[in-house]
Symmetry: C2
Subunit: 364 residues, 2 copies
Amino acid sequence: MKRPILHALILAGGAGTRFWPASRSLRPKQLLPLVGADPLILQTARRVLSLVGWDHLHVATGKHLAAQTAAVLPELQSRNTLVEPAARNTAPCIGWAAARIARTDPDAVLMVLPSDHHVRDEPAFVQAIERAATNAASGTITTIGITPTHPETGYGYIEVDGEIAGQEVCRAKCFVEKPNRTKAEEFVAGGKHLWNAGMFFFRVGDMQAAIRRHLPALATGLDAIDAAARAGEEDGAIERIFPTLPSVSIDHGVMDHLSEFAVVPGDFGWSDVGSFQSAYELGDKDEQGNVAPGHAVLMDARRNLVMDLRTETAPSGRVIALLGVEDLVVVETADALLVVPRGRAQDVKDVVSALKARGDGRFA
Amino acid sequence: MKRPILHALILAGGAGTRFWPASRSLRPKQLLPLVGADPLILQTARRVLSLVGWDHLHVATGKHLAAQTAAVLPELQSRNTLVEPAARNTAPCIGWAAARIARTDPDAVLMVLPSDHHVRDEPAFVQAIERAATNAASGTITTIGITPTHPETGYGYIEVDGEIAGQEVCRAKCFVEKPNRTKAEEFVAGGKHLWNAGMFFFRVGDMQAAIRRHLPALATGLDAIDAAARAGEEDGAIERIFPTLPSVSIDHGVMDHLSEFAVVPGDFGWSDVGSFQSAYELGDKDEQGNVAPGHAVLMDARRNLVMDLRTETAPSGRVIALLGVEDLVVVETADALLVVPRGRAQDVKDVVSALKARGDGRFA
C-alpha cells in the first residue's frame, strides 16, 4: 500500500473548570504545563511532528484563544490555524479542515487529535497512529481505542466486533457512552471494549462524503465556505457562515452513523489528564512522592501536587513552601491560590460556582 | 498624689522568623496585622493614646525600619522617633529616651511597652498601666506582671514577695528565666508568679540614676549623647556614639540589680502573639472556626488561619480558595506562600534556615 500523505488536526478549543485556578476560560487546560514543563498542546504537537511536520500540522481553536495558542506554538504556520468564530463542537471544524486539505489532495489522510491529553510511551503512540493512518488510507474511517487498565467510568468506550486480543486493527461495533461501575467492570473483563480517546483518522474525501451523507446541513454550509475559500475569501465566509453551522460532535454526527469503521487498539500510557489527581499521578515525583517545581521548598511534606503558574514572575522570584503537609494540591496563579486535598480536587468546580455566585466572573 | 506627666516609649526594633513569610527582617512582626486588620504597633499606639497623646508617644526602632514604621504610624511625630543606628538591646534606647524627656521634665513618668503584643481587654489594660504609672510616679520602678492562665514555658516570670491575690501593687522579688514545665506548673499553682510582659514604668530621673549606678559605662555614653543633644547635635552623636554603647537588656542590666521594684498584676487578655498558633487563637473566627480575610473562599474548610499579606494588589484583585482542608496555616505574601498545619507552624524557622542554606537570603 502506498504511504499516505499525512496531516494532523489538533483540536484546541476546549475550556473547563476542573483545573481552576490553573485553567480559565482564557487559559484552558491545553495551554498549561499540567504534566511536565511544557503546555499539553505543545507536547501533543511534538508527538506527531515526526509524521506530519509543521507544514501539515493544523490547529483548530477559538477566536479568544488564538493569540495564546500561537504563542505556545511559535512554529505553527498561521495558514494552518483554524480560528473558529464560535464554538460549534467538533464536526464543523473537522469538516472545514477536511475541505481545506481536500482542495489540493482529497486522498490525504487527516488525523484528528485532542490537544490536552498525555501519552507516556511515545514510540508506541506513533506506531499506533501510523497504523491507524495507514488503515484510513485504504478508505475506512479509523479511530484509536485505548486498552483499558481499569473500569473507568469517566470515559466513553468503543465496542469491538469480536475479540480485540492479538488484532492490530479491529472492526468497531459502536461507541458506548460513559458506563456505570458495573458496566465498566464488564467491559474490562469482556475484552471487547476500548476507551474512546477522541482520535480519528480518515482520507479527507471520505470524511467529506460521510458528512454529506449524515450531516447534509453541515455539508451545505461547508460547501459555501469552500466556494468562498476557492475565491480567496475564506475569512469572511468563516466569520459569516461558521456560527450558523449545526453544533454537533463528530462522534454523534458522523461516527455513530457509519455502517463500518475501524479501531486500532492502543496501549501507550494514555491519559486525558482529567483532574489534578491524574496530573499528580502522571507527574515526576521526588523521593517523598511530591510533584512540585524545583523552586518549591518541601519539608516533611509528602505526596503533594504543587503548581506554580504565576507567569508574571520568574520562578526564582517567589518561594512556595510546604511544611508537614500531605496529599494536598496547591495551585498558585497570578491572581488565585487554591489549597485542596488531592482526594477532593474534583470539587474545585464548586469554588468556581461560588465565585460566580458572588459576582467574581473574572475568576471563572 | 499628683497625677504624673506620662510618656510612652514603644520598642519596635524587633525581628524574627516565627512568622515567615509574613515577617521578614525588613517587615517584622510589629508592622504586620497578625491579629485584626491593623499592624500590631498601630494597635499598641492606640491603646495608650488616651493616656499620653501623640505629643508624648515615642517609638524606638532600627534605621532599616524607620520608614515603614513611620508609614504605619502617620501621626507619630518625627521628633518622637528614636532611630537606633545599630541594635544595642533595650537598655541603651530606654536610657536615651529617658534622657531626652528628662531634659525638660525629670519627674515625667515613662512607660516602656513592646510594640508587638496583643491585648484583648483594653479598659483593663489601661487601668493596669495607669496604676503602674501612678506607682512609678512615687519613685519606685514598676512593671506589670500578667496573671498566668496556664503553665507557659515560653515566657519569663516575675516572682512576687508574698501573695499576689487581692493586691493592686506587689513588691517584686526577682525576674525568673523561662522555666521548664514542672517549674511553670509550680509557679501557676503557687500564686506568687506573674508573666513578664516587658512593660516598665519609671520616673525618667529614677531610670537615669539606676543606669548610672548599675550600668556606668552606658551612663557615660548617654551623657555624651545628652550633652551633644543640648548643643543641638543629637543626630551626629547618636550616629557616632550609640553603636558603641553596651548591648544589654533593661531586665538584666538594670531591673535584676534593683534593691526594690514593684509589679502591678494585670489580667487583660494579654498575648505576645508568639506564633501563628496564637495569631489563630486570637483571631476572629467564622462559623467553621476559620480566621481568614473576607475575600477568601472557604468551602468545607475548618479551623484554618489564612493571611493575605500581598501588599502590591488590592485584596479584591486576588482569590485565595481553601476547599476541604482543616487546621492549616496558609500565608500568602508578595513573594512567598507557606502552607503548614497549625500544629507545626512553629517549625517555619526550619524553612527559613533551608532558604538561607540554599542562598535565598532574600527570603529570610
